[in-house]
């Protein structure tokens, strides 16, 4: 432990007091974001907030970013024996054939980054991005790999990245939760709500999902028959009664409860205001491709920007549907993968453009990526559909904004795109780097549970200083 340990001991004490219901006023301040401010970071933060675009299902790096001409030349050959023998895959059961990308690639921007034809908008911001082509993970199934990416462990029960950030940094907003989750696509991510769970951290740190159906925050709206005036009247009464009780008993938790009811009341106003995407000007809708009233990834990108502007610490988007096995129409590289690109490329680009034009990109970290990559071998080679299996050994992610070196590519894969050939970046390294940019030391950000000091990065992780700007 280093000097920052003291800081965290203080925080831990203060949380454990909350747990026993005795330091509840401190908890109230934590929720209000007063007690926790920038001075609390381990080192100066390069990013004050973060947007994480999780492409659930595992998008193919080989058909978007990691261009492999040699793979295309050898398309149709049986893969080298060492790609298969003794290796584990989710679905490939016999030695498969190599699958070259069916798409055209080009080089774009001053950095000359390679992009496939299905990322046409992204060309516009390519010089703001840092591609990490040497990502690798430990897991090759969706739920465990998503959990691994978001919580640092494939096993259920650990706090998620957002929960750690909320725990470490608190919220900047008095009216919004620190950690907000937005989900689009036909279904939610495989790992379920555990992906934004608080694990063993206090539950204030769990991600709050803003829903696109019904109340954006659960139970936000007053019940039918209770208007704003009636609610205020009832809350005033409640407050009076609780204050009487506070005077009788002297229990500080009552003061906290009064404050939390007022915060809930403020949220009832601020969240609908946040969600009112239709108030954005026409050129913004054009930029993102949003259609107000329709739920979509584009809507969520726009919401992410609105959240960031209003002080949310960490906004996480999930967009499901990148699982391109080739086994059905819905999991086909030629159709559904292209469709996912079409659904996301413009809005993702718009988000970066918009953050930049508002001066927010310099202290907002944006991360794009799936839970793993796809194999350079075909899982399904012939027939109506083509596709690739889950691949843990190499995939591409990109980062942009707060503290990230723009216009660079870090790491590389072998000529067939099977394994990392240069500068490997493990999921725990990515997590360490993210925490670092947010001003936190991944080895010092710990929480004691079941006798162990837990970290997001377990006992691993290296800050990838090469990609820091």
């Amino acid at each position: 432990m280093n000097q920052h340990g003291l800081l965290h001991n203080t925080r831990r004490q203060f949380l454990s007091q909350c747990v026993t219901g005795m330091g509840a006023l401190a908890m109230a301040s934590l929720c209000d974001g007063v007690a926790v401010n920038r001075a609390d970071t381990h080192h100066p933060a390069r990013a004050k907030r973060m947007i994480y675009l999780h492409m659930a299902g595992g998008p193919s790096q080989l058909d978007l970013f990691d261009h492999k001409p040699v793979l295309s030349q050898r398309h149709g050959e049986l893969c080298p024996a060492e790609f298969f023998d003794g290796k584990r895959f989710a679905f490939i059961k016999s030695r498969p054939k190599l699958l070259g990308t069916p798409f055209r690639f080009g080089r774009y921007g001053g950095s000359g980054a390679s992009l496939s034809e299905h990322a046409p908008h992204l060309r516009r911001v390519v010089d703001d991005l840092c591609f990490v082509k040497s990502m690798h993970t430990d897991q090759f199934n969706h739920a465990p790999a998503q959990l691994f990416m978001q919580t640092g462990s494939a096993i259920l029960g650990r706090p998620s990245l957002g929960a750690w950030l909320s725990y470490g940094l608190g919220s900047e907003s008095r009216e919004l939760p620190a950690f907000v989750v937005l989900v689009s696509g036909q279904r939610g991510p495989s790992g379920g709500t555990a992906l934004w769970g608080n694990g063993f951290l206090p539950s204030v740190h769990q991600g709050v999902r803003l829903r696109s159906q019904g109340d954006p925050v659960l139970f936000l709206a007053n019940p039918a028959g209770i208007g704003g005036a009636e609610r205020r009247m009832a809350l005033d009464s409640l407050r009076t009664l609780n204050e009487i009780r506070l005077r009788q008993t002297g229990q500080p938790e009552i003061a906290t409860r009064i404050a939390q009811y007022e915060l809930a009341y403020r949220m009832q106003r601020s969240v609908p205001d946040l969600m009112a995407v239709d108030r954005e000007p026409e050129h913004i809708h054009k930029l993102y491709g949003t259609e107000p009233g329709k739920k979509s990834y584009a809507n969520n990108c726009l919401l992410a920007r609105r959240l960031i502007e209003r002080g949310a610490r960490f906004v996480q988007l999930y967009h499901w549907g990148w699982d391109s096995h080739g086994s059905s129409a819905g999991e086909n590289l030629r159709y559904s993968f292209v469709e996912r690109c079409r659904q996301t490329d413009r809005a993702t680009t718009a988000l970066l453009v918009d953050l930049k034009q508002r001066g927010l990109l310099e202290d907002t970290l944006v991360v794009w990526g799936g839970e793993f990559g796809r194999t350079p071998m075909a899982e399904v080679f012939t027939g109506k559909y083509i596709g690739r299996d889950h691949h843990q050994h190499a995939f591409t992610m990109w980062m942009a904004g707060g503290g990230i070196k723009p216009g660079v590519t870090y790491g590389a894969t072998d000529p067939l795109g099977y394994g990392v050939s240069e500068d490997p970046v493990h999921v725990h390294d990515l997590q360490a780097t993210i925490l670092h940019l947010m001003g936190l030391d991944h080895e010092a950000l710990t929480y004691r549970f079941q006798g162990r000091d837990f970290r997001l990065t377990d006992v691993h992780g290296r800050v990838v200083s090469e990609i820091l700007g």
Partner: protein, 907 residues
């Protein structure tokens, strides 16, 4: 052994020189591993306060701090506190009144007796235990499919209901399957370790998650019984506590021999009903013997006469043809046997000369015959099945040139049909068909309108076999008709044709088997027997069984190997089941399996289990343990605030034969527990934390209790005990949006919606939202203490969740319909229900003002008032508008009462 601990710790300390992290003295043995030692308290200044040893330990500490204990809490507050602590439910106003008025010295003790015996106590204790057991109704991970293991929850409730001693409670859960001649309930108890999550995602390496499940079982066992946290030794030697990686895998070996994680299932009667099961079985046997002994000879006669009177007749068919060239021959019993050609598709046509009278329904029997493949009743050579796709009935006059008229069949019933191939499929021209899967069966086709046909009229029946199954004609069949189906008083809609066939034979030609068949049928329909039958059916309800997941050992043991860095892909040296050397001794009479491990955990030599468990019971009432890290009694855990008190409790618990209720009673009887929780003026505004128990406990209720209290005070709570998980209302889209196999949340029927929180369906990837808001865990891992936060999300739940609004309506109803209808009485009752005390005048004033102002507002908004008062359901006559506005005002008040700090807290 002790030396070993010291040596290891010395190494740890050396390796951490320069760090402030481990302020321990290497030469001291760690307190938690030392034997429990009771040290009495010396003389104290305050002689009057202590009611027993617990108070003396607490007071000793307070006196060294020069602090006075607090005064005793008012009777009503104390009753509410202890009722919530022991049952998770609030006391009723009647219970409060009778306790407050009861001046007898044992009044409080009698309350404890009453509470400890109540089923609500068992449910509350189960709620506590299920977090540690990580009980859930789904597997977790992707898909997160449903699992059925609620019999285990029933077992836990039942164990607390029966006051099962903690050693048996532990051994049955850890190894109930391995004890000599295990009972059904003991096997159900082993569900404890089948609660581990499992990943069934397509493409998953099953071994990876089997290993994770075994790891989960090791870690859970060590947390629950040893207060030791072992997770780290999975990957490397424990840094602080005396467990090496090899020792970890020796423990792991105890659990490594269970059938796969997808493993064993067991069917049993719920443990909650086991006690009455034997008596019930005897009763059923008695009733059945009574039925079997009943003489039906008189009834036989009556029954046949009734059938004849109804116009039941068997068709003596002379004219039957096959479209496919098969021959159809009539046998002596008037059944028709098909033989010869069997083309892909064959339709039969039967034309029958009517004898006259009413024709209301057609009966079709399909029968076995030795000449048919596999004995029939169908002709398909592989298995003797048939597939009847359509049955058509037409009628015509006696003259050959009379036109045929199709008769409409309204419905069909069969004595047997396959789930996918129902007899109703034969009512249309589509491909689906009726199939009996090789069984004999009978079907009745009921005409929309009964016909009165003259003698000589012709009835034509077409049996079509046009399903996708080829060569599936009926092989042998018999046709009947009746003029009057469905005479309810005989308890049968249609006569059993097989019985009619038997009884129409001359008595001498009936085989004994046929006589039996007929008689047992007649006994079932004889009205004289109906009461007995109903009684049997009712009794059998009590013996309903259900399937549940249990532990089971493999016949062929697995070889356990150390998994290097904790990964199942890196197996190292082989190890055998053993316990870590630094801990209490193993007795070689114990088997080296889970049962032996359970006996080791519960053996007298183990100082930890008593300390750990009594510490948790303490925490249950005081909000924190004497060791606050109740899951970690190791070197890294916090030391006990009152080490001697902890040892006293541990010793008392073991001495009183592991009786949890005795321990609980001992704690609850203390002056320490009975103190007021109010914070003295002198301390206000500063640090109000209190580890020395100079005040009574005060903390927020657990998630389940928040729900149960609201349901209880609103009069909605359904008090059914035990059973499968239920689905109370939750907003659409929460459960369904998650990537999952079982995506629909089907809200339970009326009463089931209002069951206690512990019965709510627990889905790991999308838990019930209002429970999660109040810090309920996901139950993916063993959790022995929940955090207690205070957030705006919680306010939104209790203010706006439709479940809580429904509770507000229920409470409003109770307040309005007080005996004398008086307004202030109503307010008082509502307040008392929620807080167990009378409101002060200031509180009454505020509530009165709120009611009056709401009433004013809602009088001017009849639509809003309706919606709030009635939940949007169309209300009664307009004349009642004042009544509705008044009700809306009551709902507003009730909503505030349910959100009072005091309602949500235990003081």
């Amino acid at each position: 052994m002790k030396v070993d601990v010291v040596v290891r710790r010395a190494i740890v300390v050396l390796s951490l020189v320069g760090s402030a992290l481990v302020p321990i003295h290497a030469e001291d043995p760690h307190w938690a591993y030392e034997p429990v030692r009771v040290v009495p308290v010396g003389p104290l200044e305050n002689q009057a306060w202590s009611r027993g040893p617990i108070d003396r330990y607490v007071l000793q500490r307070l006196e060294t701090l020069q602090r006075e204990p607090a005064r005793e809490a008012p009777a009503a507050t104390l009753l509410r506190r202890v009722t919530l602590d022991l049952t998770g439910l609030p006391p009723t106003p009647l219970e409060v009144a009778s306790f407050v008025e009861d001046a007898a010295p044992d009044a409080y003790e009698r309350v404890l007796d009453r509470l400890l015996r109540s089923p609500a106590y068992a449910e509350r204790m189960a709620t506590w235990w299920l977090d540690m057991a990580r009980y859930a109704d789904t597997h977790g991970y992707e898909g997160d499919g449903a699992r059925q293991i609620w019999l285990y929850r029933d077992w836990v409730i039942n164990a607390f209901l029966q006051g099962m001693p903690f050693d048996r409670f532990s051994i049955d859960q850890l190894a109930g399957d391995l004890v000599p001649e295990p009972t059904d309930t003991q096997r159900v108890a082993t569900g404890f370790h089948r609660n581990s999550p499992f990943c069934y995602e397509g493409g998953t390496d099953l071994e990876q998650f089997r290993v994770e499940a075994v790891v989960d079982r090791v870690n859970t066992t060590m947390t629950v019984w040893m207060g030791s946290t072992f997770g780290c030794a999975q990957c490397h030697d424990h840094k602080y506590d005396p467990v090496s990686q090899e020792e970890y895998f020796q423990l792991y070996a105890f659990f490594n021999n269970a059938t796969e994680a997808t493993g064993a299932r067991f069917t049993a009667v719920s443990p909650l009903r086991q006690a009455g099961a034997a008596a019930l079985r005897a009763r059923i046997a008695r009733l059945e013997a009574q039925i079997a002994g009943h003489d039906v000879s008189d009834f036989r006669q009556t029954w046949m006469e009734t059938q004849q009177h109804r116009g039941l007749r068997v068709w003596k068919v002379r004219d039957a043809r096959s479209s496919g060239g098969a021959s159809i021959d009539r046998l002596a019993d008037h059944s028709l046997l098909v033989s010869g050609a069997n083309p892909a598709r064959d339709d039969y046509e039967i034309v029958y000369q009517w004898e006259g009278g009413r024709f209301a329904a057609l009966g079709l029997e399909v029968l076995h015959h030795p000449s048919l493949p596999k004995g029939g009743p169908g002709r398909y050579e592989q298995n003797g099945n048939f597939g009847l796709s359509t049955l058509e009935i037409s009628v015509s006059g006696p003259q050959p040139q009379s036109p045929w008229q199709t008769v409409e069949v309204a419905e069909a019933f069969a004595s047997y049909e396959e789930p996918q191939d129902k007899v109703a499929n034969a009512l249309n021209l589509q491909q689906e068909c009726w199939c009996t899967n090789q069984q004999e069966a009978q079907a009745w086709f009921v005409l929309r309108d009964p016909l009165m046909l003259a003698a000589g009229s012709r009835i034509r029946v077409r049996l079509r076999h046009a399903s996708k199954w080829e060569r599936h004609g009926i092989g042998r069949f018999r046709i009947w008709s009746t003029g009057e189906p469905g005479l309810g008083e005989l308890g049968e809609m249609f006569p059993a044709l097989n019985v009619v066939a038997i009884l129409t034979k001359p008595a001498a030609t009936r085989t004994p088997k046929e006589v039996d068949e007929a008689d047992s049928y007649l006994r079932n329909v004889d009205p004289a027997q109906q009461l007995l039958h109903a009684e049997v059916a009712r009794s059998k309800q009590g013996l309903r069984t259900a399937e549940t997941m249990v532990m089971q050992e493999r016949a062929k043991p697995r070889q356990t190997r150390v998994l290097l860095a904790g990964s199942h892909l890196n197996p190292g040296a082989s190890v055998a089941p053993a316990i870590p050397a630094a801990w209490h001794a193993w007795d070689d009479r114990w088997p080296r399996n889970r049962l032996g491990l359970a006996r080791w955990l519960m053996s007298k030599g183990n100082p930890l289990v008593g300390r750990v468990t009594s510490n948790r019971i303490w925490a249950m009432f005081f909000g924190q343990g004497i060791v606050t890290t109740s899951e970690d009694f190791g070197v890294q855990g916090t030391p006990p605030s009152h080490p001697r008190l902890l040892d006293y409790l541990a010793d008392y618990f073991v001495r009183t034969n592991w009786n949890l209720q005795t321990l609980q009673r001992q704690i609850l009887m203390s002056s320490t527990y009975r103190q007021s929780s109010d914070i003295p003026m002198a301390l206000r505004g500063g640090d109000t934390s209190d580890r020395w128990y100079g005040r009574g406990p005060a903390f927020r209720l657990a998630a389940e209790s928040i729900r149960d209290v609201a349901l209880s005070v609103s009069g909605l709570l359904d008090r059914q005990i035990g059973g499968a998980g239920v689905f109370p209302y939750q907003p659409p889209g929460v459960y369904e949006q998650i990537h999952s196999f079982n995506t629909a949340w089907k809200t339970s029927e009326r009463g089931q919606q209002y069951r206690r929180g512990l019965y709510t369906w627990w889905k790991r990837t999308a838990p019930y939202p209002s429970m999660i808001a109040f810090d309920a865990p996901r139950r993916s891992v063993c959790v022995d203490r929940r955090p207690r936060t205070n957030t705006p999300m919680q306010a939104l739940v209790t203010l706006n969740d439709p479940v809580f609004l429904r509770c507000a309506r229920g409470l409003a109803q109770r307040m309005r319909s007080t005996d004398d209808g008086s307004f202030t009485v109503g307010l008082r009752i509502g307040f008392r229900l929620c807080t167990a005390r009378d409101p002060t005048s200031a509180e009454m004033e505020e509530l009165t003002r709120l009611h009056a102002r709401s009433f004013d507002k809602y009088r001017g908004q009849p639509a809003a008032a309706h919606t709030l008062a009635e939940g949007g359901i169309a209300a009664g006559p307009r004349a009642n508008q004042v009544g509705v506005a008044e009700m809306a005002a009551w709902v507003t008040v009730a909503n505030v009462l349910l959100n009072l700090d005091e309602t949500l807290m235990k003081y």
